[in-house]
């Protein structure tokens, strides 16, 4: 019997595949294509205390093997999320993770306090969004600053807490260790890579914010290496993110030490990507005579 269940911070996932924040909306659009209760979990679009319109100008640009985005955390705000989206999400039989961003520590704290009162399963602290001017990534590069945010949030947070790391951290292992020390129950990595594209005919950067976040298959080898290093260094579960396009990528992440994974850009290429990946994992395990993911986790 194949068993792909994983338990992270006391929360049981029916399989290790989580839809990544910002790439799955609040699930509704995908429910038109497959039963989203098949998912191990779903991380919501990044939420902020107040509604955000997001960034102006070009928001998506394609590069070889990846895409750059500058959405700028367009979202309805925590209160509207709780009223308008959460009841639907909670009616789906999958783990719901609220991905939270803020400009200031106080905003993170208030947002988390509001979510404490709900039936959200877990919180994922996004200290790594490259597309907002204040907050976001500035919390995610220096270990001391990140550690301070996590400490303050941990004081109030009554839910299992995942901290999402930026690949721009000065030292990813040190960053991971200090977030765990500050109270993270799990880590997810990585967010998009700050990157640049230039329109040479207009002689201008493609994006109004100049830089934007790179995701997709081109980031996978680097993200995989980071997951490998971090999972060796910390004793909390690590969730691997970056460039997962099919089940083979997931198996690589598990072998590198991840407990679960998040699938992002692939959802744009194929709305059924997560469902197909989940099936692919089961088939792989079957074919290889492996009965639990634990057997291959961190074997590298």
């Amino acid at each position: 019997m194949i068993d792909t269940k994983v338990k992270i911070a006391g929360v049981e996932f029916k399989n290790p595949v989580i839809a990544a924040s910002g790439t799955f909306g609040f699930g509704r659009e995908f429910l038109e294509y497959f039963p989203i209760s098949k998912l191990g979990g779903l991380s919501t679009k990044g939420l902020t205390l107040r509604e955000r319109e997001g960034n102006k100008g070009v928001r998506i640009h394609e590069t070889i093997g990846g895409i750059m985005n500058s959405i700028g955390l367009q979202n309805p705000g925590i209160d509207a999320f709780i009223v308008e989206e959460l009841p639907f999400l909670n009616s789906q039989d999958t783990v719901i993770i609220a991905n939270v961003s803020g400009n200031t520590i106080e905003e993170y704290v208030i947002s988390v306090e509001k979510l404490n009162q709900t039936e959200i399963d877990m919180i994922e602290l996004n200290i790594s969004c490259p597309n907002v001017k204040e907050g976001g990534i500035s919390f995610g590069t220096k270990a001391e600053i990140a550690s301070n945010v996590v400490t303050q949030v941990r004081k109030v947070c009554q839910k299992p807490l995942i901290v999402k790391l930026s690949p721009s951290a000065e030292n990813i292992v040190e960053m991971a260790e200090s977030c765990v020390e500050a109270g993270a129950d799990a880590l997810s990595l990585v967010n998009t890579f700050p990157a640049l594209a230039i329109d040479i005919s207009k002689k201008k950067a493609i994006f109004d914010n100049i830089t934007a976040g790179l995701s997709g298959p081109c980031i996978k080898p680097i993200a995989l290496r980071m997951v490998y290093e971090v999972s060796k260094a910390v004793d909390v579960p690590v969730i691997g993110i970056g460039g997962i396009m099919d089940y083979r990528d997931v198996i690589e992440y598990i072998m590198a030490g991840a407990w679960a994974v998040q699938v992002g850009t692939a959802n744009f290429i194929n709305p059924n990507a997560c469902a197909e990946i989940i099936e692919g994992i089961e088939e792989y395990l079957q074919k290889e005579g492996i009965s639990t993911l634990e057997e291959i986790r961190g074997i590298i």
């Binding site: 995908f30 294509y33 998506i60």
Partner: protein
């Protein structure tokens, strides 16, 4: 439950003017294959390019859906190389489409490769239709449109057919009860301005899309009632709702 991407056979893929292709595909479906203003996402490649490309429905006859596209970059270049019997992956129909429930005299105004949805709209509207088409130089599809409309106005930028200039130069709004337009953003802006607050105008907006189905927010535009996704709440909007400059 909607189908995801399905692999379909290409029936034909023909260059009908310089860099403009007509692509026909055979689609099986139990549901509607689409309405005017709706679009499909295409991919005929694996992961390179990574994203699919959106194209509007130009016509549907039986199970055959026709698209018109212009070669502008890598994706459309790949598409132009496809031959009959080659496979194409499509997702759709997507988006909201035009409201067909209108009365009186309708002006349909297209600029450049904004023409496909206007062609299918002309076929589907059951009212008096005046078709305005602006081309750069070569004129195409006008024989087909002829059957469905009361009158056609053509401009070309080089003056080779119809009047020389832009289509917005010759469009006279006061004659119409409703206006539909699709084309470059400055053209649609001009159309909306010409109609002032007198006549309802429906515009089909373009935006760079990643998912085409509402998940990435990459295609969001600012409207008077907040941010809207071109692929989901659009591509058709009430013209005065959108900000063309943003």
């Amino acid at each position: 439950m909607k189908e995801g991407y399905r692999e379909v056979d290409i029936s034909s893929n023909t260059e009908i003017a310089k860099d403009i292709f007509e692509l026909k595909v055979q689609l099986e479906s139990n549901d509607s294959l689409g309405d005017p203003g709706q679009f499909y996402m295409f991919r005929s490649w694996d992961f390179d390019p990574l994203l699919s490309r959106p194209f509007s429905i130009c016509n549907i006859e039986g199970n055959v859906v026709t698209f018109l596209y212009k070669i502008v970059g890598r994706g459309t270049n790949y598409l132009s190389k496809l031959k009959p019997k080659d496979k194409l992956k499509v997702l759709g129909p997507l988006g909201n489409g035009f409201n067909l429930n209108v009365n009186g005299k309708a002006a349909l105004i297209s600029g450049g490769i904004g023409i496909p949805p206007m062609i299918y709209l002309a076929k589907k509207l059951s009212t008096e239709i005046y078709f305005y088409a602006g081309f750069t130089n070569e004129v195409y599809y006008m024989d087909y449109v002829q059957k469905y409309v009361n009158k056609i106005y053509i401009t070309t930028e080089d003056g080779s057919t119809g009047q020389k200039g832009f289509i917005t130069d010759i469009f006279r709004p006061e004659k119409y009860d409703v206006v539909f337009t699709c084309g470059p953003s400055p053209m649609m802006k001009k159309v909306v301005e010409k109609c002032e607050n007198m006549i309802p105008v429906f515009v089909s907006m373009e935006s760079i899309m990643a998912c085409g189905m509402g998940a990435c927010l990459g295609c969001s535009i600012k409207t008077k009632s907040g941010m809207k996704r071109v692929c989901k709440e659009g591509p058709v909007f009430e013209g005065r709702e959108v900000f063309f400059d943003d």
